[in-house]
């Protein structure tokens, strides 16, 4: 995949990858071995007929490739960019064993980007079903559920708590990885299908879930509220000035455009040395954003080793190219501050790997007397998120697991409340865009079945 020069791109928020040209895409698609049994599909959480769309590209038939893709995955331009392909489809690819795998993600992105450049078709008929459906949350699960229901003729209203739709795709993932223009295009496409978007409404606060049925006349509700509650470590000094959750750090940048301060009104403090704690995609997004905002030293601090890192491999490589430093087996134990309450350092312990823990990964154990201090101006915590309890707290009878996830029926995605369905991170805890999209899609099918059967 052609990409922008690392030193040039590490100073702005423009997209890193440039995308394939047609010839490059054809060439990549031709690398497919046309296996009798295309195992790549088994690696895909939503079972995209990968071989079929790749062969359509090889045949130069982009409209067909686009139609195959979009039928199976309603968010191809997004998933092509953010899916961890190396642990899904590309892991299964037979080419992967001796050569590189067919770059399924890059091809998916290519087809979706081509589709976006095409003229918009005839507007579809207006909704023909009488039952109205409300979707709570406009992240990947909600967008896909809304789209699938709209295609079945349902009038759908999507409620979003923030002032712009997209959920984590808007506030979480930076533009250098997922440009807003792509998200905007997907949302416009849904609006053309008749989906109504209502921003600035917090279901559970502005309108209760019960009122969606009783007073607003919805026949079914899909909850796709994600996992937006940031975890903190609970170590001393976490409330010092200059310490952020990754959610806050990235929201200030992505949603509030703090990188344009003072042209944009929301500020962000980024010092010369920024430590990001964690090793997932969010940590990579945060540390690379810090670099782009002028941090001379942008560090990742992670208590396990490189092998246990959970980020997409491409993001890790991009981070290294952009000059991010990695401190593996480093466990932060305290944030140090000055008399005015500002961060000056991060006290850490050096770790070594021990026996496997309950997650099956080698447990990091501290090395005696290894305590040391990293001098830093900011600490960004990216150690995970849990489902937001706000809706469950205000909705009688909506059952949750002790860790906060909504309890759903496995087949239908129906919650403990009748005609209330849920999917995505709100059910699984923090996972991937593609899993959320898949959950939104199957919930839409269940909603359609239940509503049309009058169950």
């Amino acid at each position: 995949m052609p990409q922008r020069d690392a030193m040039e791109r590490a100073r702005d928020f423009e997209e890193v990858n440039k995308g394939y040209c047609f010839a490059h895409a054809m060439f990549e698609a031709e690398r497919c071995l046309r296996c009798q049994d295309p195992v790549c599909m088994e690696g895909c959480p939503v079972r995209i007929p990968i071989a079929d769309f790749v062969h359509a590209i090889a045949a130069g038939d982009l409209p067909r490739a686009a139609s195959i893709l979009r039928t199976a995955n309603p968010l191809p331009a997004i998933c092509g960019r953010v899916c961890p392909q190396e642990s899904q489809c590309e892991l299964k690819c037979h080419m992967a064993k001796r050569f590189g795998p067919v770059a399924v993600g890059h091809l998916e992105r290519f087809v979706a980007d081509w589709e976006r450049s095409q003229p918009v078709g005839e507007p579809p008929p207006s909704p023909w079903q009488s039952a109205r459906v409300a979707v709570v949350g406009s992240g990947p699960a909600g967008l896909v559920c809304a789209g699938q229901l709209a295609r079945q003729g349902y009038p759908v209203t999507v409620y979003e708590a923030l002032h712009a739709p997209g959920g984590v795709l808007r506030y979480g993932i930076p533009e250098f990885r997922l440009p807003n223009a792509i998200l905007d295009w997907e949302i416009e496409a849904l609006k053309r299908l008749g989906v109504e978007f209502v921003n600035n409404v917090v279901i559970g606060k502005t309108i209760t879930l019960d009122d969606l049925f009783d007073r607003h006349g919805f026949a079914a509700v899909f909850i796709g509220t994600g996992a937006g509650l940031p975890k903190f470590l609970g170590i001393p000094g976490e409330n010092l000035n200059g310490v952020y959750s990754a959610n806050e750090f990235l929201t200030r940048i992505n949603l509030m455009q703090a990188f344009q301060f003072p042209e944009a009104d929301t500020p962000l403090k980024v010092g010369k040395r920024v430590a990001v704690i964690g090793s997932g995609n969010t940590a990579m997004d945060a540390v690379r954003s810090a670099r782009r905002l002028g941090a001379e030293q942008a560090l990742v601090v992670y208590r396990r080793s490189e092998a246990e890192m959970t980020a997409r491999i491409e993001e890790y490589h991009h981070a290294i190219e952009e000059g991010v430093e990695f401190h593996w087996l480093t466990n932060p134990v305290e944030v140090i501050g000055d008399d005015d309450g500002w961060v000056t350092g991060l006290k850490c312990l050096q770790m070594e790997l021990g026996e496997p823990d309950e997650s099956g990964r080698a447990r990091p154990v501290p090395i005696d007397g290894s305590e040391f201090e990293l001098p830093v101006d900011n600490v960004v915590l990216s150690i995970g998120t849990t489902p937001n309890p706000l809706l469950a707290k205000t909705t009688p009878g909506l059952a949750t697991h002790p860790w906060g996830g909504l309890v759903v029926d496995e087949n239908k995605g129906e919650t403990s409340r009748r005609r209330v369905y849920a999917g995505g991170d709100a059910v699984t805890g923090a996972a991937t865009v593609i899993l959320a999209a898949g959950a939104g899609k199957s919930a839409a099918e269940a909603i359609h079945q239940d509503l049309s059967a009058g169950i």
């Binding site: 708590a161 923030l162 002032h163 506030y171 921003n199 600035n200 409404v201 917090v202 606060k205 502005t206 309108i207 209760t208 937006g228 509650l229 940031p230 903190f232 609970g234 976490e238 409330n239 000035n241 200059g242 952020y244 959750s245 959610n247 806050e248 929201t251 200030r252 949603l255 509030m256 455009q257 344009q260 301060f261 003072p262 042209e263 944009a264 009104d265 929301t266 500020p267 403090k269 005015d340 309450g341 937001n388 309890p389 706000l390």
Partner: protein, 282 residues
């Protein structure tokens, strides 16, 4: 979008806006807040709901023009729109009904006592409101406040109205010894130093005291954690766990420190805004 239906200047820099927001008005409870964004690329700021009118679908907010966003908001006229408004957010204060409650308000925080104290009175509480300002003409909503409580106490630094001195000095007189005015609960809304002083005044008296914290926040739904405050050694999010907390347990040192996080940026942005306004005038 929310249309401003009424606007009233309370002081030269304090504006009261009645805003059309029927969904918020319908579900608002006294003590909750909204988050507003005034312009494209604007920031999100929390503002206390000072009153609501369910029948007309109106929500009242009071804004003191101290920074870029509050100035933009204060400059809007009747008929103009607030770009984004979301709420009601946060929880109303947890106070048992019955007995005597004193609401202490400082500066524009006094406005927040309007619907809070009216509600306390409706619940059967005996209600006293103490509000203070530097001088008489900076006291806001005096008639409205008087109408919603049993007794209104005014305090001014220069003695130009009511008691000469701080609200906490008057509060101390009312709680001291066997004053017949001694409350069993106190609610404090205003600038951080005032709320802290109220907490210190009632500490050790057995008078349950709640303060309404307004730290920096972005989403207001628990997502960013920017509004975290330490309450009795425990970290809480003011947006979803608050904004009301037991004032005696609040770590005010930390809260004050965190409120100063963007002082430099705020000064820079305010300066730029003033220059732009002056350039426009030329």
């Amino acid at each position: 979008m929310a249309v401003i239906r009424e606007k009233r200047d309370l002081t030269p820099i304090t504006k009261m806006l009645r805003v059309e927001a029927p969904l918020i008005a319908e579900s608002a409870k006294a003590g909750q807040f909204v988050i507003v964004r005034v312009r494209e690329r604007g920031e999100r700021i929390p503002l206390t709901i000072t009153d609501y009118d369910r029948d007309r679908g109106l929500v009242t907010i009071v804004v003191q023009e101290v920074g870029v966003t509050t100035r933009c908001l204060g400059a809007l006229r009747e008929g103009e729109e607030i770009l984004d408004i979301v709420g009601p957010l946060g929880e109303p204060p947890q106070l048992e009904a019955g007995g005597h409650v004193i609401g202490v308000g400082g500066g524009y925080g006094a406005a927040a006592l309007l619907c809070l104290m009216r509600e306390r009175k409706e619940l059967g509480d005996r209600t006293t409101i103490i509000v203070g300002a530097r001088q008489k003409d900076l006291l806001i909503l005096v008639d409205e406040l008087r109408a919603v409580c049993d007794r209104l106490e005014l305090c001014t630094d220069d003695g130009s109205a009511g008691f000469k001195g701080l609200v906490t000095e008057r509060l101390r007189q009312l709680i001291d010894g066997d004053s017949p005015q001694r409350p069993n609960r106190v609610l404090a809304i205003g600038p951080m130093p005032m709320m802290r002083a109220v907490a210190d005044t009632t500490r050790g008296t057995g008078i349950a005291t709640q303060a309404s914290l307004d730290p920096l926040m972005i989403d207001g739904t628990g997502m960013c954690g920017g509004c975290r405050v330490t309450i009795g050694g425990e970290v809480k999010f003011a947006c979803v766990d608050g904004p009301f907390f037991d004032a005696h347990l609040v770590d005010f040192d930390e809260a004050v420190q965190r409120s100063k996080m963007y002082v430099k940026e705020e000064a820079l942005a305010t300066c730029r805004q003033s220059e732009a306004v002056q350039a426009d005038a030329r």
